[in-house]
């Protein structure tokens, strides 16, 4: 099959009632402007690490906000904090703080 560089996500169910929302709420407390994210994906399109790997920042912070944390920390470790995403974000979200806070609420310190 030809590879076009994209794929379709597998169907799955998200149970917001059973997911642990505490880290997600802490993240939104620390960076409230993340609530204004329109999921445009500009951050991911410009991402230095995303250009070299499958790292997808939009996916990661969306997962965290849903209370799904599996592999997020390991993925976030790919970020180099260069800050391009912050410059392109149309909502002016402090994306570098989002990166740092996600790692912090998921266990850095």
């Amino acid at each position: 099959m030809p590879q076009f560089g994209f794929s379709i996500s597998k169907p799955r169910a998200i149970n917001l009632d059973t997911n642990d929302q505490v880290p997600a709420e802490r993240l939104l407390q620390e960076v409230p402007e993340l609530k204004t994210c329109i999921a445009c994906g500009g951050c991911t399109a410009t991402c230095t690490a995303g250009n070299l790997t499958d790292f997808n920042f939009r996916k990661m912070h969306t997962l965290v906000r849903r209370g799904e944390y599996r592999e997020v920390y390991e993925q976030m470790d790919k970020c180099m904090l260069c800050g391009k995403c912050r410059l392109v974000c149309p909502r002016g979200i402090n994306t570098r703080a989002v990166v740092i806070k996600i790692k912090r609420v998921l266990g850095d310190y």
Binding site: T46, L52, K78, L81, D108
Partner: protein, 597 residues
């Protein structure tokens, strides 16, 4: 004991306590120094560094010359207290040695007027000198009071808010000299041993008061004076006044080339406790000036770190623009200390973290010159295009390190404290540079420049910012510019100017292209654009306000075009400017002389 009176006990107890604490601190800090620092000290002691350090102690710890440059009145205040008090001690010691003979106890020197045997035929020249010195110190105390009320008159818009122990020490210090004046004047009323000041006041007191009252007040005053001194000495090692003694070893260690680094170490203590909390770092801070954030400045950061109560809010909320560092009269490495505090908090070994970088080489071209645009330059493609044109015009063969995407330089991670992780990225980039056999590395991003120069240790590769490289091409005649009559103003990026000391190269290039006008704050005093990667706390609106204030200043110059040499600064200025904004490479590319014309 000779020359003893029970009122000296508070003074003696305070003195013994103070010196014991200081000796304990110093010995501990020096003992804990890493061995390379100890080697640096032993190497430096018998060199010219030592006499230079002695001179620096005189000119900074006593005369406070750097503070005179901030404001003459402020300088005089610090000098009169430091140098005046120092002379009071020295001259007092000489006088006591002359009058009482050598070997008299310490308190007999300090409270000499009390123990003075008297009978100075034809007046005492020492008393005149001592009164003059006391007057000098008192004038400093008056200025210190005045500064509390009207700091602006002394060149400071804002002053430090002090903690309790500082207030106790400060109050005691304010009382020490007026009490000394009062005690010596009453003593002069009894013994007639004063100079023009204490003697004059003493005569007045003797003429208007009952001798029994004078004697009573006199003994109370000496007690109070001794108590004020004792209180100050006990509070001193735990307060900001620890700087008085700490700045001296700091100057020597600095002269022996001991520096703070990426990781916290014992030497940091000398820097942290040498901070006098004078507050000169507060006014230059744009977080204070433009955003009204008043509790994160270097003085508060050092204070909180010293007392072990540093919060993330204080630690992270700093642009690390370095405006305070160049103003610090003690020369403390403020950015380095903040960086290594961040490192200590967050850093993890990160052994495999950036292994994914291996095999992602997308570089193109080949040549002895490598060009590393940097992440931010990739977001300002006009800079990249301009550099392509300049390289082509100069006929340079270029290895394009990251035109099609590549790793970050590592500095943003380092600024956030993740030094080990940044090190992984640096190692990868170093391998890349070596593998492609370049001898010159040109970058358009001052953030990359700084980390390449300071952390990469690139042997055999010269690292240049594109301003330096372009100027070199111009000087070698490999490219030439069509001069025009456009008026430019230049914004010094923090990482390029204060960070890497590059001020003249961009100005020389602009001088060849047109006319240059300077903004109100330029060179080492230049404003930060507010987008600094070192700050992860302020939001977009706050960045915008800092950028707007700084852009307004650039537009006030009346220039027709704002030029800078950092992609991040450029983005910040563009958001606020009404004038055209350009990277310096853009100006050069536009004005390149095509050969044959």
């Amino acid at each position: 004991m000779a020359y003893y009176d029970s009122f000296v006990i508070p003074f003696l107890a305070g003195t013994v306590f103070m010196f014991a604490v200081i000796a304990w601190k110093w010995c501990r800090w020096i003992w804990l120094l890493p061995s390379e620092d100890k080697r640096a000290i032993s190497k430096g002691v018998f060199t010219s560094a030592t006499p230079k350090a002695v001179w620096e102690v005189i000119s900074e710890s006593l005369l406070h010359r750097k503070i005179f440059r901030v404001n003459p009145l402020l300088g005089y205040m610090h000098m009169s207290l430091a140098f005046g008090w120092f002379l009071l001690i020295v001259v007092g010691w000489i006088e006591a040695a002359v009058e009482l003979g050598a070997g008299t106890p310490l308190h007999a020197h300090v409270f000499f007027r009390y123990f003075d045997p008297g009978a100075h035929a034809g007046g005492n020249p020492f008393a005149t000198v001592m009164d003059l010195l006391l007057l000098m110190v008192l004038s400093g105390v008056v200025l210190a009071w005045f500064k509390r009320v009207r700091s602006r008159a002394m060149g400071m818009k804002r002053t430090t808010r002090h903690v309790l122990v500082d207030r106790v020490a400060l109050t005691a210090l304010w009382f020490v000299f007026p009490l000394r004046l009062a005690a010596e004047s009453f003593m002069a009323a009894i013994k007639h041993n004063g100079g023009f000041l204490t003697g004059g006041l003493g005569d007045l007191i003797a003429a208007h008061m009952d001798p029994a009252v004078i004697a009573g007040v006199n003994s109370v005053l000496w007690w109070l004076y001794s108590f004020a001194l004792g209180t100050f000495f006990v509070a001193m090692p735990f307060s900001r006044y620890m700087h008085i003694f700490t700045e001296i070893p700091l100057i020597f260690l600095r002269r022996y080339k001991v520096r703070s680094g990426d990781h916290t170490k014992s030497f940091d203590n000398f820097q942290i406790q040498a901070c006098s909390r004078c507050g000169i770092c507060i006014d230059p801070c744009q977080l204070q000036r433009d955003l009204g954030i008043g509790d994160v400045q270097s003085v508060y950061f050092l204070r909180d770190r010293r007392y072990g109560r540093l919060s993330d809010k204080v630690l992270d909320n700093c642009l690390m623009c370095g405006r305070c560092e160049v103003k610090c009269p003690v020369g403390i490495e403020l950015n380095t200390l903040r960086s290594n505090s961040r490192q200590e908090r967050v850093d993890s070994p990160a052994l495999t973290r950036y292994d994914y970088l291996k095999g992602t080489d997308r570089s193109s071209g080949s040549g002895r010159v490598g060009y590393f645009a940097g992440c931010m330059t990739l977001l300002t493609p006009v800079t990249l295009r301009s550099m392509e044109r300049i390289f082509a015009a100069a006929g340079e063969d270029v290895w394009w390190a990251d035109r099609d995407g590549a790793s970050c330089c590592g500095r943003p991670l380092k600024l956030s404290g993740e030094v080990n992780a940044a090190r992984r990225i640096m190692e990868y980039n170093k391998e890349q540079f070596a593998a492609h056999g370049i001898s010159t590395l040109v970058t358009s991003c001052p953030i990359c420049l700084k980390v390449f120069r300071e952390d990469y240790a690139l042997e055999g590769i010269e690292v240049l910012h594109h301003t330096e490289y372009i100027l070199r091409l111009l000087e070698q005649g490999r490219i030439a510019l069509n001069a025009g009559d456009t008026v430019y103003t230049y914004h010094d990026p923090c990482e390029l100017g204060r960070g890497s000391g590059i001020y003249d190269e961009p100005r020389q290039i602009l001088g060849m292209a047109g006319k240059l006008v300077e903004p109100e704050h330029s060179r080492s005093d230049a404003m930060c654009c507010g987008s600094s990667l070192a700050n992860t706390v302020i939001d977009d609106g706050q960045q915008l306000r800092i950028g707007a204030a700084m852009t307004t200043e650039l537009e006030r110059t009346g220039a027709g075009c704002i030029v800078t040499a950092c992609p991040l600064c450029k983005k910040a200025i563009v958001r606020n400017a009404t004038l055209p904004v350009a990277d310096i490479s853009q100006i050069v590319a536009e004005r390149l002389q095509v050969s044959g014309t």
